[in-house]
């Protein structure tokens, strides 16, 4: 059994879609091929991988309530290819949006289902995630926290003469648990999706989210964007102003 995973995020690196797709891939058995779809130059390479694939997993961000525009020409090529070759293919989708509600991915899921109908391939369902970007930020933070734990261990060794103090690692363990708690819905639904891929079963449509009350998520998102806007300078360049076309 061969499964092709396609990260459809236009970001070059550190995409939330790629991260969540990778998480799913951990639990999928058989031959796996991970691909990145950013430009038309990627099309032929991915199409050749699809030729002998049993399953394909599209992982993508939600853009303006639908699939990102750069993915559409690839879907059209895939439709032509599948109709021409009478290809059997199971299609699974992971959609991630920046809002907290996973349900906001519903139009994207329907578009992908319509793509399968037109291509004569099997729509096996998808997982819609709300606030998945937070998992992405948290995994980067976990690497930073790991560095802090190592630094604390080193400093403790120098100042107190203890070779391996427990406390920095207890703190780090708690931080890992917090991330797992926030992402437990995503992880559980991800594993469930992988089980369905392994058995080539229909997954249906499921929606989950980061496990935070929405008002706290909104507060975190606002703080995040404010900090980024201060560093990138946007806050000083008419952050909220009604700019007219020049």
């Amino acid at each position: 059994m061969k499964t092709v995973f396609i990260d459809c995020s236009p970001k070059k690196r550190l995409s939330a879609s790629g991260f969540i797709m990778g998480l799913t891939g951990l639990f999928v058995f058989g031959k796996k091929k991970k691909e990145k779809l950013r430009t038309p130059a990627d099309h032929e390479r991915i199409m050749s991988e699809l030729a002998d694939a049993d399953n394909v997993v599209f992982s993508m961000p939600l853009y303006v309530d639908g699939v990102p525009s750069h993915l559409l020409p690839f879907l059209k090529k895939t439709e032509m290819f599948c109709l021409d070759k009478n290809k059997d293919l199971n299609v699974y989708v992971i959609a991630n949006n920046g809002f907290i509600e996973g349900k906001q991915n519903e139009p994207l899921m329907r578009i992908m289902e319509n793509f399968c109908d037109r291509s004569g391939i099997k729509w096996c369902g998808g997982l819609g995630i709300g606030g998945g970007v937070m998992m992405n930020v948290m995994r980067i933070l976990l690497i930073v926290f790991l560095g802090i734990a190592l630094l604390r261990t080193l400093l403790s060794g120098v100042s107190e003469g203890i070779l391996f103090p427990a406390w920095p690692w207890i703190i780090y363990g708690k931080q890992i648990l917090e991330v797992l708690a926030l992402g437990c819905g995503i992880i559980v639904f991800d594993i469930w999706l992988a089980i369905c891929i392994n058995s080539k079963k229909e997954y249906g449509k499921h929606y989950t989210r980061i496990m935070l009350p929405s008002f706290i998520f909104i507060l975190c998102a606002d703080i995040f964007f404010t900090i980024i806007s201060v560093f990138q300078g946007g806050i000083f360049r008419g952050w909220f102003s009604r700019k007219k076309p020049t």
């Binding site: 970001k11 303006v64 525009s69 559409l72 289902e113 037109r118 964007f225 008419g238 909220f240 102003s241």
Partner: protein
């Protein structure tokens, strides 16, 4: 301001053009969104990609009435039209709020009054249902008080067609 976005490779008649303050032909000769959010965080309401869509969010944001003519692609916009919409998230700000009991971004220009979408080409019943949901969601995101989706094979010459 009335804005028309269309993906039809035709010449629109002068009387038709006069109905609109801006007519935008989605010819696809521009780059897709890179998902960098710099139109929120670095250069507000300006895309960092230097092409014809760099300030598109300002035009769409200032529209009181937005009319889109698009070919059907699986129950959604054609790539050329979708690209314009993807590159126009600067109509909103990075700050969040609740609309329709769900999280959305606050609008830089306030909401427009109506969004009207003309869908051309072959559209299945299932795709029609997708379109209705999609336009409803778009209208909510764009703060539009009214929305309408029309399935129509428009004539090649738009003259006389009431858009």
């Amino acid at each position: 301001m009335r804005v028309l976005i269309h993906d039809r490779d035709i010449t629109i008649s002068d009387p038709e053009k006069e109905k609109y303050d801006r007519v935008i032909y989605a010819d696809g000769r521009y780059a897709p969104c890179q998902g960098c959010f710099k139109c929120w965080t670095k250069t507000p309401a300006t895309c960092v990609l230097k092409d014809s869509l760099q300030e598109m969010c300002r035009i769409i944001g200032l529209a009181d009435e937005l009319v889109i003519v698009t070919e059907n692609w699986y129950g959604g916009y054609s790539p050329a039209v979708k690209n314009i919409l993807d590159r126009s998230i600067g109509i909103s700000t990075p700050m969040s709020t609740y609309r329709g009991r769900q999280m959305h971004h606050t609008l830089r220009y306030g909401g427009c009054s109506t969004v009207r979408i003309y869908v051309t080409g072959d559209v299945s019943d299932k795709e029609k249902e997708t379109w209705k949901l999609l336009v409803e969601r778009n209208a909510l995101n764009w703060g539009a008080s009214g929305h309408e989706v029309i399935f129509s094979d428009l004539p090649d010459d738009m003259e006389g067609t009431d858009l």
